[in-house]
């Protein structure tokens, strides 16, 4: 059995010896040129004049391209053709590429790119959510509204209400390998592109458009990325297209990698949101109605903002049954980087909204927020293990009408509360806070219910190509990309399992648009669900052909042929797999097959906001304990306990890695990772010196992570669950724990009677030291 084993990442040995090749490590042919963009210096306006004579004259410069020099389409948008590679007269954000420098070296290109003299007719820039609302600057005409039940009358009739709003900052991906591409011109005008991308097919598509070629003339290869996190779903288009057009123009190979500062200034980030809420509830804390207004700052181009905002709406319930709900979503167009995909794809922002509501309700009632959360959980499925509801119940529906048939959180939260010693620790924290005026502690449990599938239904498909060679070695290829998550290893385990051979028999190969066409982005956590199934299908096709031939040869039935332990058992005969492959080859059996998979059961009407957008849900829960210094706002995570649902894990070592990394990245998003734009629209946090991602010292002192032992109720690849994005949202518990610590500065502990509470902290995210400090000041005032 290779499936389910905690094997190491397929390239682990290459990584620890420094041999793993990323795009910038591929030995480039002699004469390869390097590229850099000249960038716009204002947020909005028109280019009055662009003098690039000094750029052309700079040492090492081979060519400088402007929009008019492009051979065909000037567009790198993944959606609606609104994103020119190089600006055409109008400029829309500070950092927008204006011209492309092609030079002998990376440094020469970068230095020359600074020499452009551009004058602008500046126009007033729309930078913030308030600016955009005032100017009615938005995508999709007006707000999108989905509702279930009559939220406004339910709110009016509710015994109690809270209302408020939360600002939720964006997030820079900070993949440690910056964006990179290498284009190699071929005979007859064809192009081969190596790209650090989550979406090779889209790179192929955009390069073909830019060169006015059919897609068959462009081949894109991606062996690995040094991190993606959604930031390489569409943001690599510009580099790949730039390399391709420069390679076409010069006839030489062209490479482009963004310097870190350029990367942060040019590329999109997680959408920042403001979520306003009104919630009505009863005296127990049971939610009767919620009204959310979500404002998303989408930046200058549409990119993937509409599905991101949809997913924020689709996660406005998180794990809670909301009998009446209204969600209004504003997709605001601003003169800033075009916000893009980032792990969770809007889901995290939507989830922060409802978690904030739960926290606020608990504060208003003076209850432990865990009790309020559990009270509002979706009902457990009728056969559910660990369920708390004794009666058989019909599954409750999400606000968009999908029955929640697989709700795991009752049992998971009960187990996590016990394993994390939640109740005694909460009591100890209350004692600590009563005794310590300066350092205050807080604790919070937050759950995650995350919908798995692309909401754009047609993307839920995948292909694979598998060859068995006559020596029994296996070549495996599929449409998914490797960005560190261990997808290739998991899928190789599936292939090894199918043929009953060891993992060493399976060669993992780079994603290649010439091997598997029309792939979807490796995104939406779907990588192993989709590609694992496609590879399994391909392997089974070959295996069935082999079984049929071998059965005939050895005078038995195909059902009597078994592949296990590196051998093929044919009735009473046993052959090593390699000999079996040789026999099949001799018998003229095709040992190559494609495989295909499409996710079943999903239907989605995005206009109405109704249907079953998700095949299933992945669950998780985290308990985080923090301490804050009330004099400075400085804070630390002391302990985190996590229980996460990866179904029947394909590889527990890789899955736990995703959970730990996701939690830390999520906690970073909501605590230290602050993006700051100045009044001119200039991103002031464009390097790790000013943008703080979690470092080694920020890891919780105590970090207990476990997987929930349960199979996926749906028929996924070996009953596993997707695990890429969901754990990021476990980090919400850090924000809520900080809120709990701040609340402790304001009055009696939450076990005290209603009405003696201090004011609600209303902590915005990221809860930086400054924000925590100001919140402490507010509640102490």
């Amino acid at each position: 059995m290779s499936v389910g084993q905690a094997t190491a990442h397929d390239a682990a040995r290459l990584h620890v010896t420094g041999q793993a090749r990323y795009v910038d490590d591929i030995p480039a042919p002699k004469g390869t040129l390097s590229l850099a963009f000249g960038l716009c210096e204002i947020a909005r306006g028109r280019i009055a004049a662009m003098d690039i004579a000094a750029v052309r004259a700079a040492p090492g410069v081979v060519a400088v391209l402007v929009a008019g020099d492009l051979p065909a389409a000037n567009d790198v948008s993944p959606s609606v053709h609104d994103e020119p590679l190089l600006a055409e007269g109008e400029v829309f954000y500070l950092g927008q590429p204006l011209f492309l420098v092609v030079a002998e070296t990376h440094l020469a290109a970068r230095k020359a790119a600074r020499l452009g003299v551009v004058s602008y007719e500046e126009l007033p820039a729309i930078l913030t959510i308030d600016d955009a609302l005032a100017a009615d600057s938005r995508f999709e005409g007006g707000a999108v509204i989905w509702q279930q039940g009559d939220a406004s009358s339910a709110l009016a009739g509710a015994p109690r209400q809270v209302q408020g709003q939360i600002e939720i900052g964006g997030q820079e991906h900070f993949y440690l390998e910056g964006q990179a591409a290498l284009a190699l011109p071929q005979e007859g005008g064809d192009m081969v592109v190596h790209s650090s991308t989550q979406h090779p097919t889209e790179i192929q598509h955009k390069v073909a458009e830019a060169l006015a070629l059919p897609m068959h003339a462009v081949r894109v290869e991606t062996r690995r990325m040094g991190g993606g996190f959604g930031g390489k779903e569409s943001q690599g288009n510009a580099l790949a297209v730039a390399c391709a057009v420069a390679a076409r123009a010069t006839g030489r190979p062209c490479k482009m990698r963004y310097d870190r500062d350029d990367d942060m200034v040019i590329t999109g980030k997680r959408h920042d949101f403001r979520i306003a809420y009104r919630a009505g509830f009863d005296d127990e804390g049971r939610v009767l109605a919620v009204d959310f207004t979500q404002y998303a700052r989408c930046g200058w181009a549409q990119d993937l903002s509409l599905p991101v905002c949809d997913r924020a709406m689709l996660h406005a319930d998180n794990a809670y049954y909301l009998p009446a709900v209204r969600i209004e979503s504003h997709r605001l167009k601003t003169h800033t980087q075009s916000a893009t995909a980032f792990r969770g794809f809007g889901g995290p922002q939507g989830m922060v909204g409802i978690e904030r509501v739960m926290d606020h309700i608990a504060h208003a009632l003076g209850k432990d927020p865990v009790d309020v959360r559990r009270l509002n959980f979706y009902a457990a499925p009728a056969d559910g293990a660990g369920m708390r509801i004794s009666d058989k119940v019909k599954p409750q529906e999400t606000p968009y009408g999908q029955p929640v048939e697989d709700f795991e959180l009752h049992g998971m939260v009960e187990a996590l509360l016990a394993s994390s010693d939640y109740a005694p620790r909460r009591a100890a924290i209350a004692e600590w806070n009563a005794a310590n005026p300066i350092l205050k502690k807080g604790i919070a449990l937050t759950p995650v219910k995350f919908g798995i599938s692309f909401t754009l239904t047609h993307l839920n498909q995948a292909g694979a190509l598998v060859h068995v060679y006559q020596d029994g070695s296996i070549h495996m290829n599929h449409g998914g990309t490797e960005m560190g998550q261990g997808l290739f290893q998991k899928v190789a385990q599936v292939a090894a399992q199918a043929f009953g051979v060891g993992l060493e028999a399976v060669k993992i190969t780079a994603t290649d648009t010439a091997k598997v066409p029309n792939t979807s982005a490796t995104a939406a956590s779907s990588g192993s669900d989709l590609n694992g199934m496609a590879v399994k299908a391909a392997c089974e096709t070959i295996r069935d052909r082999m079984a049929e031939h071998l059965a005939e040869l050895h005078q038995t039935k195909p059902e009597e042929v078994e592949f296990e332990g590196g051998e093929v058992r044919i009735g009473s005969t046993k052959l090593p797999f390699a000999e079996a492959a040789q026999e099949c080859y001799q018998g003229r059996v095709s040992l190559s097959a494609t495989g295909f998979y499409k996710t079943p059961k999903i239907t989605w009407d995005r206009v109405k906001g109704r249907g079953r957008p998700f095949f299933y849900f992945a669950y998780g829960a985290a308990v985080t304990e923090v301490v804050i210094d009330t004099l400075t706002g400085e804070n630390r995570i002391l302990r985190a306990d996590i229980l996460h649902d990866a179904g029947a894990s394909l590889n527990p070592a890789l899955d736990i890695g995703q959970v730990e990394g996701g939690y830390v990245q999520g906690a970073g998003w909501l605590t230290t990772e602050e993006l700051v734009w100045d009044g001119k629209g200039r991103l002031r946090t464009h390097a790790p010196s000013t943008y703080k991602i979690p470092a080694c010292g920020d890891r919780p002192d105590v970090f207990n992570v476990a997987l929930w032992d349960a199979q996926n109720r749906e028929e996924t690849i070996y009953r596993s669950k997707a695990v890429g994005e969901p754990p990021l949202m476990l980090g919400i518990s850090a924000l809520m724990a900080l809120s709990d610590a701040v609340a402790a500065c304001g009055g009696p502990s939450s076990s005290e009677a209603i009405g003696q509470q201090g004011p609600y902290p209303a902590l915005d995210a990221p809860a930086t030291a400054e924000r925590v400090f100001r919140a402490v000041q507010r509640v102490q005032a």
Binding site: R21, Y175, M225, R260, G484, E660, C696, G697
Partner: protein, 157 residues
């Protein structure tokens, strides 16, 4: 252009470089040692870490010309031929890497730590690695791998 003589991973090297060229660019572009990575180019992320005279150094902050007469170890020089260093073995065993691009710098930095301090506390490891960013793992498995390596190396010393 400047001619530079240096020792890298035990082998003597001579190269010619621009006086403004960083050691990182020399290693990657002139010597084909692409194990060290450029994560930020400003000495904040540690992906380009190499060991010089027993100390971890950000090779993006050092000029190639400054390597004259120095002894440099890069990630390519940590293993003894096919035999991996215990740190490399434990990074694989503990799944202490994902995308792998911070791994070379972290291995070089921790190797230097264990040479200086064979018995570090967990806190000492964390602070030693404060300048090596990892965006994937959340660091827990990295710390576990380093602590186990230190214990093993002490036993075998």
């Amino acid at each position: 252009m400047i001619q530079v003589s240096t020792t890298i991973n035990g082998d003597e090297h001579q190269f010619v470089c621009d006086p403004r060229e960083t050691l990182l660019d020399v290693l990657r572009d002139r010597l084909g040692l692409t194990g060290a990575k450029e994560g930020c180019g400003t000495g904040d992320c540690g992906a380009c870490t190499v060991e010089i005279g027993g100390r971890p150094v950000c090779s993006c902050l050092m000029l190639g010309a400054e390597a004259e007469g120095k002894e440099i170890t890069t990630v390519e020089g940590i293993a003894d031929g096919e035999d991996l260093h215990p740190l490399q073995v434990n990074f694989i065993k503990h799944a202490a890497l994902q995308c792998g691009i911070c791994t070379p710098g972290i291995l070089v930095a921790t190797k230097a730590l264990l040479e200086e301090n064979p018995n570090p506390t967990e806190t000492e490891v964390r602070y030693w690695l404060a300048g090596n960013l990892c965006r994937c793992t959340g660091y827990d498995k990295i710390i576990r791998a380093v602590m186990e390596t230190a214990a093993e190396m002490r036993e075998n010393a």
